[in-house]
């Protein structure tokens, strides 16, 4: 796994390049925990953001790469800013990119929680944790965009 940190480059804070090996989930969680702490998120939100990124990576490894261990994944963590009704608000954007086959948006809806069965919880955890969850296919890559604001106004999701 390769990590690059930058003080400021179009808001880029941290870039991680890793293979699709589940053993690398733990060091990525460590990096996200530290980054969210440094940015000043409260402890429960540090855990939420870390969980969302972990679950998104897990989905990429399982579903986009079907368990192959050597496929490329990139994680870009950047500052974002928006202007809401109560003034400017900052947040953290995490963009996860993989080169697996296109994802069927219908499969990004998750499942009902009243069913007691294993599986299908990852997407639910992601949506619960983040203010924005978006998916798009661009230039042969799947791009999952997750955003957490310091002062969330309204959740937005296209998946």
């Amino acid at each position: 796994m390769e990590a690059r940190a930058a003080a400021s480059n179009n808001g880029l804070l941290l870039k991680l390049e890793l293979h699709s090996d589940p053993k690398l989930l733990s060091p990525v969680r460590g990096a996200l925990e530290r980054l969210t702490e440094v940015l000043g998120f409260p402890a429960p939100e540090c855990r939420s953001v870390t969980r969302a990124v972990d679950e998104a990576l897990t989905n990429i490894m399982r579903h986009c790469y079907c368990g192959q261990l050597d496929q490329p994944i990139e994680v870009f963590c950047s500052r974002v800013r928006r202007h809401g009704a109560v003034g400017p608000d900052e947040g953290l954007e995490i963009l996860l990119c993989d080169r697996g086959p296109p994802v069927d948006p219908a499969k990004l809806r998750g499942r009902r929680l009243d069913e007691i069965r294993p599986g299908g919880l990852g997407l639910h955890f992601i949506r619960q944790s983040m203010d924005i969850v978006q998916y798009r296919r661009a230039r042969g890559t799947n791009q999952f965009r997750l955003v957490k604001y310091f002062n969330p106004l309204k959740s937005h999701s296209n998946c």
Partner: protein, 110 residues
């Protein structure tokens, strides 16, 4: 992640330490299902006090253990949940499905 088993009275206690994620949840699932289906211990107790993080695949393993236990009329108990583990069970609304206790004494006395 490390997992080991202790046997007290009619209970099997699994002591797990470390994070449970996609890298090792199959190991947890295998140990749980073997204990339930092959040994049919009346109570399977999961000590999660040293589990700092559990992801959706880890939760899925616990759900499988719970369902296999219920199918055989056995009990499946959790104790020592960290903040993170409790949060994922609350987010998935599974916290009310599991028997959850604060510590081992309470779990064994239940």
């Amino acid at each position: 992640m490390q997992i080991s088993a202790r046997y007290i009275d009619k209970a099997t206690i699994f002591d797990i330490s470390g994070d449970i994620d996609l890298a090792n949840s199959p190991e947890v699932r295998k140990a749980l299902l073997r204990e339930v289906r092959e040994n049919r211990t009346p109570r399977v107790v999961m000590n999660l006090s040293k589990v700092r993080y559990i992801d959706s695949s880890g939760v899925a393993s616990l759900v499988e253990g719970l369902k296999a236990s219920r199918d055989l009329g056995l009990r499946f108990i959790l104790f020592g949940l960290s903040n993170s583990a409790r949060e994922v069970l609350q987010l998935s609304r599974l916290i009310r499905i599991f028997e959850v206790y604060d510590n081992e004494d309470q779990a064994l006395a239940s």
